[in-house]
Symmetry: C2
Subunit: 599 residues, 2 copies
Amino acid sequence: MASTISERELQFLLYEFLDTESLLRRERYTEHSREVFDATLDAARELAEELLAPHLRQGDEQEPVFVAGRAEVAAPTRAAWQAMADAGFLRAHWNVDEGGLQLPEVVLRAAMSAFYTANVGTAAYGLLTIGAANLLRTFGSQFLKDQYLAPLGDGRFAGTMALTEPSQGSALGDIKTTAVAQADGTYRLFGQKTYISGGDQNLTDNIVHMVLARIQGAPAGVKGISLFLVPKMLPDANGDHTLRNDVVLAGLLHKMGWRNTTSTILSFGDAGGARGWLLGGEHQGLAHMFQMMNEARIGVGLVSACIAYRGFSESLAFARERRQGRLPSCRDPLSPQVRLIEHADVRRLLLAQKTYAEGSLALCLYAGSLFEDQQSHPQQRRRADARRLLDVLTPVVKSWPARYGAAANDMAIQVLGGAGYTRDYPVEQLYRDQRLNMIHEGAEAIHALDLLGRKVVAEEGAGLGLYMETVRGDAQRGAQVGLQDEAAALLAALERLGAVSAVLTSLLRTDPDLALANASLYLDAFGRVTLAWIWLKQGSAATTALRAEDARTDGGYYRGKLQAMHYFFGWELPHTQAQCELLARCDRSAYDMRDGWFA
Amino acid sequence: MASTISERELQFLLYEFLDTESLLRRERYTEHSREVFDATLDAARELAEELLAPHLRQGDEQEPVFVAGRAEVAAPTRAAWQAMADAGFLRAHWNVDEGGLQLPEVVLRAAMSAFYTANVGTAAYGLLTIGAANLLRTFGSQFLKDQYLAPLGDGRFAGTMALTEPSQGSALGDIKTTAVAQADGTYRLFGQKTYISGGDQNLTDNIVHMVLARIQGAPAGVKGISLFLVPKMLPDANGDHTLRNDVVLAGLLHKMGWRNTTSTILSFGDAGGARGWLLGGEHQGLAHMFQMMNEARIGVGLVSACIAYRGFSESLAFARERRQGRLPSCRDPLSPQVRLIEHADVRRLLLAQKTYAEGSLALCLYAGSLFEDQQSHPQQRRRADARRLLDVLTPVVKSWPARYGAAANDMAIQVLGGAGYTRDYPVEQLYRDQRLNMIHEGAEAIHALDLLGRKVVAEEGAGLGLYMETVRGDAQRGAQVGLQDEAAALLAALERLGAVSAVLTSLLRTDPDLALANASLYLDAFGRVTLAWIWLKQGSAATTALRAEDARTDGGYYRGKLQAMHYFFGWELPHTQAQCELLARCDRSAYDMRDGWFA
């Protein structure tokens, strides 16, 4: 199954890197078993291979079209959507009393990774629908849940998040869409939203838009934003969703990649107002929406990891097959050509991809396990800690896999050479698809500002403190299994990062603009330390496993993990030194640059 | 003229960074003047703006099609080609007695940069034709020159380089195309070539293919390769080129970008043999072809710089116009949104692009000036030195602008955010177009092996010694104008690079495979030192100019140059330390990685 994620990798991440089996001791999961988890993963991989992977290229070439006011996507998308829904993946994590299976979040995410690896353009409809339904589960009134939850769970309806507007981009405080309260307790919405993924499609009869808007007369800025549920179709007298709401598909955006997910411009209220329901409290919309945004951010991290993983797999397969050239030491032109993988530089390109892709996957599933702990850990303190640690990590989880995933997909093309630049192989599409991930769910700089300007200073630095304590604990455990060098390198980098954090958070109070000027560099340094930690954790698990193996049946897999860890500690972590020096002196190169000097 | 390169930038690079006016003292250029140079540049910029830039998108969307055995490109391509030819750009550098203007190489390249910036897919036909004609000028018999030179110069014919074959890729020693000698002194060629840019098109009546092939019975490997001129059309009894040669367009390759340049599969000899003429000596083909390859490599570097420059210009214009968000220090949601360029991180993305793009441009024009000196410098020793220095620099000139140009084009998208990911703006196309440059004219690893395995050790290290001596001299000059800190940082990095070079060249003798395993990292470190040097040279020129300016009319331009230099020295050069540490200990992460460990 080369088009999706390997079973071995998911097994390692869930059961060796993470201790997913320990969830079975929690009351919520007593009815489950590892067999159920594994069967879920197998089902996802099979579905991915059979119904998602085959139309990866078709979804790119047959871009969604605007037909009679509606977006139409490539035909096989519908069968894939239906199968994902029918197999229960949209609601597997719901409580049994909601109609779900109470599957742990981390297992669901591992399962979804199979879909993302096979075909992100199609799988994204599921990601959005799951997030919208979760928002409804948290903030919806019983009336709204009765109306919309079941069909979101079984795939009759899909969900979106409608935040961005044409004149505001990343600055949510400036949104202008207005909600006017009606006598019946509903609202009428007026405004335009853009870049709305899945904002229209021909997969479902109805679409549930989660819309940020201002109630007429609300305060300016983020404090005046409320959250609304605005369906594409409204219920008729029989309760069937047959009446068009005043939400119109105003246009489709044509993207470089990720084409099979429609990107839409939606007009609300051109004909009297789009009917919507308030979700949660008035003016609390941004805080509420952060639930979906944070979920989506971890989702985008995982998607990025999966696209990188797919490129890695594709280029690995090519490098194992294709023969070209000879080693530098070989002077005999009549000797047979060697396989690409025998060239050291090709192995570098593959090893770096493995490091970025598997490191990102591990990071995102680790984040999934924190999400899980935050909800289901039996100890209150551990739930709070999981929330706190996940808060700090979220900007990294969103951003690192996207940036280094793009680097990995670049390398996948390079392994294939000229072939990789043609549309005869999937790696060029993966490169295009991946590029979106640095932009959507908040452009990279937004997460950098979030990390340094908010997460690191929140609760007087409690989150950062917990992060450092956690990394130190895992470094110690790494040293105990024999990875002393890596543990020491990680701790040194961690202390540098801590020192720089102190300098910057102090400056934040007196000169926030300057302190945040290099926030993106801080995010990158933070990400490198984080990934070194994740790799040390993987290396520790691999070391332990290698020791336990008497028959050495699977030694190669673990040795590969260790080699990837070595690569990361040799090639990526050391650059944090130069980065932290720049950060410590608050480099002013960009800050001082003036418009007129650009010429 | 936002779609092409700025006049100010070319003026700075030619007359302040380089001393192009000094060429006027050489005998070859006594008839020229700065006015002629400037008029040439103006004409190129105007042509670029009027006939190339307008169909950048069209050439991407209307990909070349295969019609009745021939490739057809987007219609406006023809007018642009004709205008470039009519204005004399294909032969401006030829001697007057060949029909040229004896324009210096470096001025011609600066002029071509206007075309590349506006529309590389169309301009590339000129790049290839110029290179093919130069090869003919050097190695062609009088008969061949009489037949082909004039029409290549006036754009009636175009040229290609036909090296790669389906089963050989980067390893030229393994090509299989065979040439069979005929009684009349010509040859018949049989074989298939692939990835041949411009291998067919509907711009010219004839195409002159420069083909590498083996004469029947030739030795194996690179020592058995010869160079042939194989035209698409053969002369009839009247000397008109009306008869089809046995060269058939077997297919078009569909690429991610750079689409308006056809990429072709060509079959030679399916119907009895394609008629060709030997160029230069038997079995000397690869050495001869290196003239065109080296020219094309500098050309690809320049193209990369130009695509990066275009992305920089586009994103700068967007950032100056578009308003979004507020500074971190502003807490008033009712205050007006600021322009993107007022955000420090956006300025970082712009400054980094400026640094990569203008640094690459400067490097490539510097290489052009070495090419010039190699041919026209009055002193024999200086001609030899120019050749030697250019030999060492060529792998960097080919590779650095491609890799960092891609990073720049990535940043251009990021400045635009979601808009940058749509096809409504050119930055996504530039990102796709740029990606080819790390592959064609030798994939990056090939240049890394060339640099460390050949160039650095050639003539007992004479080239490397000259490089270091040249950099030291310029560092000293930089310190003299006041850039002591940068000079010291550059020298320290240079010495580290020198020390690592010694370690690796020593290892090359005993274990070439291991010594070359990290050649790509060596290339990157070498590139960073080189670009720091190029930026110090630009910074020195800017410092001198700022001092000389009493009215400070153009101070902003020079301050921008200095700020870009600061950025490079702060953000890019320091990473050579971690790189050189890895190189010095011959890191084995990738080298030791085994196929089976990849899982």
